[in-house]
């Protein structure tokens, strides 16, 4: 069964997205201009260096936004989940994408063309205000990441990354939290080498904080992760 494109007016993120303050007729127009797409694990939603043609609303799945170094090393800047908006920074700044968005799972995304997006932002002050707040929040988050990368050792950053995955992707009530993620991707979040991540994960396993089955990591004791991650805060 193919995933169906939802109508914007009945989208489950209608009241929590960037467009939560839109009028019905705006949602109607949005719906007509949008374009629904599915991506398999590993597929590229947009690519570093390309010109943005619109924004993306994640309808389902998991997305990493990351930048590739010339040595093939990747750094993940952001993790996105259903309900999140992607690619708006480049569009507003009128620059090429500085990072790529890649599906981590089977992912569904609505594309909204730049013209429609700009029109909405121009015409509805509430949308532009929300967008501004979104940018401000994203800036704060990125500054936090920068600080932590500069000041915390790998062990603490790894604990933090696991908590980020949990807070981002845990479905309500589903405890304990489990996620399937490659050690490579995890190391690209933390900003370290794959082997280093594996070593600290082993340590966390010995301490009963997590268990793993293949690439699946289950967080048994999030409180301990909080303690580790904020050891020197």
């Amino acid at each position: 069964m193919k995933p169906q494109a939802p109508h914007c007016q009945s989208c489950q993120f209608k009241d929590s997205s960037l467009f939560k303050q839109c009028h019905l007729h705006e949602l109607e127009e949005l719906n007509e201009s949008k374009c629904f797409n599915s991506y398999k694990k590993g597929q590229v939603i947009f690519h570093e260096g390309n010109r943005p043609l619109g924004i993306f609303c994640v309808y389902g799945g998991k997305v990493k936004v990351s930048r590739m170094g010339s040595d093939g090393k990747e750094q993940i800047i952001r993790l996105a989940k259903k309900g999140d908006t992607l690619g708006y920074r480049s569009l507003i700044d009128n620059t090429k994408y500085t990072a790529s968005a890649i599906a981590l799972d089977e992912t569904e995304v609505c594309f909204i063309p730049a013209t429609e997006f700009n029109k909405l932002v121009d015409e509805n002050v509430k949308v532009s205000t929300d967008l501004m707040k979104m940018l401000a929040r994203a800036l704060g988050d990125t500054q936090d990441k920068l600080i932590h990368l500069a000041m915390k050792p790998v062990r603490e950053r790894l604990a933090e990354a696991l908590l980020l995955l949990k807070s981002t992707y845990q479905e309500e009530g589903k405890t304990p939290f489990s996620i399937s993620i490659s050690r490579e991707d995890l190391s690209s979040i933390v900003g370290t080498a794959k082997e280093t991540v594996i070593r600290f994960l082993s340590e966390f396993k010995e301490d009963g904080i997590i268990t793993t089955h293949g690439s699946e990591i289950t967080i048994l004791n999030p409180e301990k992760l909080v303690k580790i991650s904020s050891m020197y805060d």
Copy 2:
């Protein structure tokens, strides 16, 4: 002689600041609500953890925006110069300051109260659009910093930091570029230890890329710094 508070309508940054698209009557109002202040080297303009009460427009001098770790280590997030705007992120996001702004030099700053700032943003779409672009640019810059911190070794980041200082603070035509900056501050930009910075600076000196007299660093060969900083781009 005390520095004089400039009138907003004749401010030298009238046409390049966030308020470049304001009407005369808006500048008039801005001028009446603003508050001019001077800060000596080391003085705090706003402090991490406090609630923002407005925004700051740098009229002259140099400012570092930085965050303090519990271990006393500092990370500099941003360098500001005359014409720059400070403290807007927290105000928009409605959060406490997550970093402090500290004068690196004798610095003059105009404070604009939140009520006045919000009024302007609400009433003038051009101001809010410019503000949005400013946020988008700041987000892009911070993402760049994050990537470089994660992927480049100290030597390259130091070269980059020196180029940042040059591009930020070089007065037109004044070559070669010189700046007085403590090794401590420089290490807080790079995200490394003071001694490590000193060692690489010594190396740069041996290679004839820079010279130093006390805390004054003169960049003799910026091209070489560019090469070093982008060694693996």
